[in-house]
């Protein structure tokens, strides 16, 4: 196998030799049997590597790919990471990787994770030109350490400031929004790559809240602690259908003061949170933040007036986006 530097160089020039073609694609991965397992529960993997950050506090980027491989292997039950990815993504389709750079440098999706996912996608048969790394705008991508590229022969990276938003307004419940054309036109499947953060209004921002970055006026959805805004937005059909998998970045996080970067509240869970059920992922992430806040002697999010009520709303009978009941979540911590 090429080393990491060679691989990334090859990826940038579109010269990566692709692996064998997947015949199963996402259909095999995303049937109910696989997504929820035999138990009928939503599966969520929390993969940790305590050595992800060195003693000097710096991220050891080489370990991110190994952590991703462990998470995906455990989730899919396949030891070979490339084979596992072949069962997650369809061949010949454009895959979007929706990052989150809103918090600015210091608390944005790590570029090392984006590149690790892109590397495995290409080894699983996705061509470089079929990968789009995207977010709201250039700034949000650059603070992640990513470089803008719109050349379709290579892995692309651009924001909705380039693509624009649909003229037609979508509506679902309280959400009246115009969607990014990257979501509606450019991508056929989206993998969410949110970063775990406390949020001054919503309580927690992670898998579902990351979708605020795909609409033209996210601020309109913040009323009531983003409830039911987050749940309603995730029910918009295009989002529900295309955003099929989440690789949550909990490599570092802020447990208070978010969604901006507050170094005094920075914390390194050194983890990835992986799954298809965004409600179950957010429920799991919420509990991680609560544990950290308790450890730091802080109030619960509820006591702080920002309990993430949108998670329960997303699981209710109206929305049915997934499970928030711990009894219905098969949590695998590795």
């Amino acid at each position: 196998m090429k080393n990491r530097r060679e691989f990334l160089q090859a990826a940038a020039t579109g010269a990566v030799v692709l692996g064998s073609q997947s015949k199963l694609g996402m259909a095999a991965m995303f049937d109910k049997q696989t997504a929820h397992g035999d138990s009928g529960k939503s599966r969520v993997v929390v993969a940790r590597d305590p050595a992800l950050h060195g003693a000097d506090g710096q991220l050891d980027e080489k370990r991110v790919l190994d952590l991703l491989d462990r998470a995906i292997a455990h989730y899919t039950g396949r030891d070979n990471p490339v084979e596992a990815w072949k069962h997650i993504v369809p061949v010949g389709k454009v895959i979007g990787l929706k990052t989150n750079g809103l918090g600015g440098k210091g608390i944005s999706t790590h570029a090392a994770l984006v590149m690790a996912v892109a590397e495995r996608l290409q080894q699983a048969g996705v061509k470089p030109g079929e990968i789009i790394v995207w977010d709201r705008n250039r700034r949000d991508l650059e603070v992640c350490g990513l470089t803008i590229n719109t050349d379709p022969s290579k892995m692309r990276c651009y924001g909705s400031d380039v693509s624009g938003y649909e003229d037609t307004q979508e509506q679902w419940g309280s959400a009246r929004i115009r969607l990014s054309k990257i979501l509606t036109r450019d991508c056929e499947m989206v993998i969410g790559l949110p970063i775990l953060k406390d949020h001054s209004m919503a309580g927690v921002t992670f898998a579902m809240k990351n979708m605020y970055g795909v609409v033209d006026r996210p601020f309109d959805l913040h009323a009531g602690g983003c409830n039911p805004g987050v749940a309603d937005l995730n029910c918009v059909p295009v989002i529900r259908q295309k955003v099929r998998f989440t690789i949550g970045d909990a490599i570092s996080s802020v447990y208070d003061g978010g969604p901006g970067f507050h170094p005094e509240r920075l914390w390194q869970p050194n983890a990835l949170i992986v799954g298809e059920d965004r409600v179950a992922i957010d429920q799991t992430a919420w509990q991680m933040i609560e544990r950290k806040r308790a450890e730091a002697g802080m109030n619960t999010l509820e006591a702080a007036g920002k309990q993430p009520r949108y998670i329960a709303t997303a699981a209710d009978a109206t929305h049915q986006l997934g499970f928030n009941d711990p009894q219905k979540i098969h949590l695998m911590e590795i």
């Binding site: 809103l102 001054s200 209004m201 919503a202 601020f219 913040h222 003061g257 970067f261 507050h262 170094p263």
Partner: protein, 168 residues
């Protein structure tokens, strides 16, 4: 002649009073002319590495998303931001929030206060952490955040904060 001279004096006093009143009633006129961001080299070791971006209250969500609400409810008028680098290594971002009145800056300052903050004498009130400095001065709330944790970072950030304070 005496009448005309008195009349001229009266008009002058009236004009001056009107200007003073305008300055007091519309303090925003003065705020708009302030550029608090020190140029490269103005504070030893610090280089300004980006253009200044300014967001009106209605657009603040574009910059800080959900955080915008607390600033808007506290009366933010504009938020300006710029990036800096210290001695070519330590990267930092400076946010200057201009509120409609000093109590708005005080409210945000107090909301963000935590027990582990070290009080610093910058502006009307200030606190420092290892990687950040926050202070308020009149209607301004300034937040400086570094992205690396290095020895001496806090001192460097405080020096930059004093450079900003001097321009407010």
């Amino acid at each position: 002649m005496v009448f005309r001279s008195n009349y001229a004096s009266f008009r002058w006093i009236l004009t001056a009073s009107a200007l003073l009143l305008i300055a007091l009633v519309f303090p925003g006129c003065k705020k708009k002319s302030i550029d608090p961001f020190p140029a490269s080299g103005a504070v030893t070791g610090w280089e300004k590495t980006s253009d200044t971006r300014t967001f009106a209250a209605k657009d603040l969500y574009q910059y800080i998303d959900g955080d915008a609400e607390q600033y808007i409810s506290a009366g933010v008028v504009t938020t300006s931001t710029s990036d800096y680098k210290f001695q070519g290594q330590l990267e930092a971002t400076v946010d200057v929030h201009t509120m409609s009145a000093a109590d708005g800056a005080t409210r945000i300052f107090q909301t963000g206060a935590t027990n582990d903050a070290k009080t610093v004498s910058i502006g009307d009130a200030g606190v420092a952490y290892g990687q950040s400095v926050i202070f308020r001065k009149g209607p301004y709330l300034v937040r400086i955040v570094a992205f690396q944790s290095t020895p001496g970072a806090s001192d460097a950030l405080q020096a930059l904060a004093r450079g900003l304070e001097a321009k407010l």
